[in-house]
Point group: C2
Chain length 187, copies 2
DNA sequence: CCTGAATGAGACACTACTGTCTCATATGAG
DNA sequence: CTCATATGAGACAGTAGTGTCTCATTCAGG
């Protein structure tokens, strides 16, 4: 069997997603690799977790790029902004399946380097929230950072709801978008 | 120093809330107790976690009782239902400070006994969501269980927002209620 | 003051995991 | 086919945590 760094990372992510406390031995087995091989690619468990964190942040960043967050924000066009938010959130929901445990894992959420990089990404998001508020797409009375937190909370919800089998996978993106935008109250 | 089972539990909860991976030694120190004393009250780490889980579920159940969820649901009165939801969610937000880590800790979230008991509490909540939908307080097109998931996700949001210092403690209850009910979109 | 129960400190054996190493085997490129 | 390389299995020492135990000390109630 041949093991690329990427395939190991992906398998590790999948396994740690299922059980965040999995040992290196378990992770290696889940990747169909020996423990030694895993250690050849990642010097330590910590290094592996860091890399997974980086990978998750990379995907997150990529999503912000894909949706041209800054450009849309600068445009000030309510229609474009609304569509951008919808698309962005849907992308995040898709990702939360693979990357979800990085949302709550204590080590990843705590590591200073990852936190710093995450903060810069939140910063980028915030420009979108602020533009959305200015364009009348989002409520102006909410702190932009709260909007980010609320969105991530709903990603956790989506993850849990899927795990519990309470919602269908194809519905969950719309569910998050609509809950975030219009809430659960009757109009 | 005298240590009641309750004081140990409370301290353990506080410590594990700060760092879910704290060892028994760290937990004991945080409670101002010796490791032996902690073990006299809780046979094993697992037993301690279980008890914390039970404690959290107990508080949760207590909240449902306090707000007379079933009675309010049965009343069908939109005003009462709306007030009940507001009060309930605010209570949960208050609790999530102390009990928050039980929301995401893998062991607690996974243990079959706790999960089973948690399910029955979700069941009680669901009666409220359904009544709210029937009374025109909540959107009828959302699965009641999704509403529960969304609310818990927003509790995670609240916890994180507080930890990051992005919102004031006195605001966070209203923030969750209002985000859950009307969302972040402009009306 | 006296006494019995609770406590803290620490020793102890045990387990699980980590990170390193070796070596025989498998595998793919030339 | 041949050979260099990657791999899996396992040995190994080191570390950290757990659960049990003992024992001297503390402390509250009589």
């Amino acid at each position: 069997m041949v093991h690329t760094r990427e395939s190991l990372l992906a398998a590790a992510q999948r396994q740690l997603n299922a059980d965040p406390l999995s040992s290196m031995a378990v992770v290696a087995a889940a990747a169909g690799a020996g423990r030694a091989t895993l250690h050849r690619h990642f010097a330590s468990r910590e290094a592996l977790l860091l890399e997974i964190g980086e990978r998750s942040l990379g995907r997150w960043e990529q999503r912000l790029d894909e949706h041209a967050v800054e450009e849309v924000a600068a445009s000030g066009d309510p229609g474009r902004i609304r569509e951008c938010i919808r698309g962005l959130v849907r992308s995040f929901v898709d990702d939360s399946d693979d990357f979800g445990f990085a949302l709550t894992d204590h080590f990843i959420v705590t590591d200073p380097v990852l936190v710093a990089r995450g903060d810069t990404l939140v910063e980028r998001e915030v420009t979108l929230w602020e533009a959305a508020q200015a364009a009348g797409v989002l409520r102006p009375d909410l702190a932009p950072r709260w909007i980010s937190h609320a969105m991530y909370g709903l990603l956790v919800s989506a993850r849990e709801a899927l795990r519990a089998g309470d919602v269908a996978r194809r519905d969950v993106g719309d569910l998050v978008v609509s809950t975030l935008l219009v809430g659960a109250g009757a109009r």
